[in-house]
Amino acid sequence: MRVSVQEAPFDLGRESAAFAAGHVDMGAIVTFTGIVRDLPDDPMQAMEIEHYPGMTEAALTDIATQAMTRFSLGDALVIHRYGRLVPGELIMMVATAARHRKDAFEGAEFLMDYLKSRAPFWKREISANGAEWVAAKDEDEAALNRW
């Protein structure tokens, strides 16, 4: 299991390949990647991601540990960036390895649902019209109820 909170970009292909390598007893690998999406009506110049150093790593480790146990994962990976990003850049990725695909998919969804509203990151979108903090969505909080 690995958790990385970093400012630097990551190489999706290399991270995915490294994660998939060496799991002879795991039949399924799922990866999810989040990308900075441009705003159709108000072109985004940048997205700034702030986080809480120390708590972020602890929260992500806790979420990943829960996913490992709950879905009997053989391995889990969470990479999340902070700092200034532009549309098209990769923000984060999760990967899960399990014996069967159902656990790998569900483990990845669990990781995503929890890290959206329980990991201390805050996004701010910057456009020609100014900067605005992204508001948390009720549906993101509601998504936790299914677990």
């Binding site: 809480y52 708590m55 999340h80 805050w122 903090w133 508001a135």
Partner: protein, 81 residues
């Protein structure tokens, strides 16, 4: 103790962290103490339902006790992913 602010809470209060000498027994008492101090705190803390709090880097509630606590952080709901 150290009090930390993130995102728009940090912007409204105007600093990312500060040392606070307090006898507040709970987070809510600390909030009341800070709000009474200056307007910028009162504004930032005006709607607690829009805020989250972590005590020693663990998410908790506003009625959490502060005895022995080193670090309290205030921030809006998180938007990771």
């Amino acid at each position: 103790m150290d009090v930390l602010y993130f995102a728009w809470v940090r912007e409204r209060i105007g600093l990312p962290r500060e040392k606070v000498e307090t006898n507040a027994a709970t987070v809510a008492e600390l909030v009341a103490e800070l709000s009474a101090r200056e307007d910028r705190y009162a504004v930032a803390f005006s709607d607690l339902s829009a805020l989250r709090v972590a005590v020693d880097q663990e998410l908790t509630d506003f009625d959490a006790p502060l005895a022995g606590v080193r670090e309290v952080a205030f921030f809006p709901p998180m938007t990771g992913g």
